[in-house]
Symmetry: none
Subunit: 210 residues, 2 copies
Amino acid sequence: MTCRVLIAEDHVVVRQGLKALLEREKFEVVAEASDGREATRMTRELVPDVAILDLAMPQLNGIDATRAIRESCPQVRTIALTMYAEDQYVLAALQAGFRGYVLKSQAASHLVRAIQEVCRGEIYLSPAVSRVVVDAYLGRKSLPENPLTQREREVLQLVAEGKTTKEIAHTLGISAKTAESHRARIMRKLEIHDTAGLVRYAIRRGVIQA
Amino acid sequence: MTCRVLIAEDHVVVRQGLKALLEREKFEVVAEASDGREATRMTRELVPDVAILDLAMPQLNGIDATRAIRESCPQVRTIALTMYAEDQYVLAALQAGFRGYVLKSQAASHLVRAIQEVCRGEIYLSPAVSRVVVDAYLGRKSLPENPLTQREREVLQLVAEGKTTKEIAHTLGISAKTAESHRARIMRKLEIHDTAGLVRYAIRRGVIQA
DNA sequence: TCCCATTGCCGGGTTTTACCGGATTGTCTG
DNA sequence: CAGACAATCCGGTAAAACCCGGCAATGGGA
């Protein structure tokens, strides 16, 4: 079976690299798009079997592009190709109708496999993200944005600003031990186990600026 | 002329895509690295003609990797491959000794051209970044002085990535005590006295991404 | 040539973090 | 009302981070 593929990815070098790779694997790359809007338009015109979409694209992101594609061409299956493994992206992608989710940090063979499976009507998830989905199912919770409570976010911010536990306790008018528990619970929830990780998380989430 | 190339890029799919692309163009890809440290080690072992380095890599970023490469293998020419067109990255890259600077948003032909030029001893800049360089020359715009030494920046990056002192020592092949003194010296120089502050500094300076 | 910056190493100290337990109160919701 | 969860507090331990000295080899620049 020859599988007709569309690639949407804003970095041209990367996109052409993917194309070379897929062609070597005997897929037929029928179109390349630089942004989500172009991707939806080309999909309508050419109706590929599979559309591979980067999530981070100008004009229209991959999530919304898939929603658009599912409306106009429901028979076209889409695969997300991204560097993000965080649950908010994964769950949002699945809700939008992606049939595959592949991390850029995985080997190319994963992408090849994903295309084959999705083309056959199956679902393909990168191993690292399967866990996220199972967790979400078991918890019956599509974690909204932020699993942290108000109080925990306050503590997170102060930690990320470089305050010691003692200073945090003083600022919030609680005991040092309590501040410590908050910090510990934050770490458990986020599965981050060092201060540096908390700081990076806080910056990514916009809790503080670098 | 066959050009022996090393590719360093942390996202495996992207890296393998680039490899497929370059091999189609008859370059010989002699090595692939997932981080800057691996890239410098492989460069020493295999001495390629050209090393293509992503700027954003774990363990050791592309800028510092090029510095290291220029010390141990000055005959190896390096090309930066990145999504960043901001002057701080471009100028820092040139100061570090990169002979080529290609944006991921450019067509693959630019990368091919860059490899050919650089291999021949020339300099290659993506059109969009040439402007930055000329501006900097005309305006005598230079980067804010970075008070840290190469070694200190390496330690800083690892600290900001959440590595413990012991892990840093192991990574760099030095004693834990030495790693500790580096960290202490960094803190004294920058007048930053906590990990969180170091992480924010590292992100501001582009040593790591959030 | 002499000096200084850099890098690496060591001892010995205090403070803070990270992780392990457990407990109480109030609120909101099914 | 029961159960879940948020927020608070507490004790203990081992590891790590932080801070203070000093010392030695190196190699390049004044």
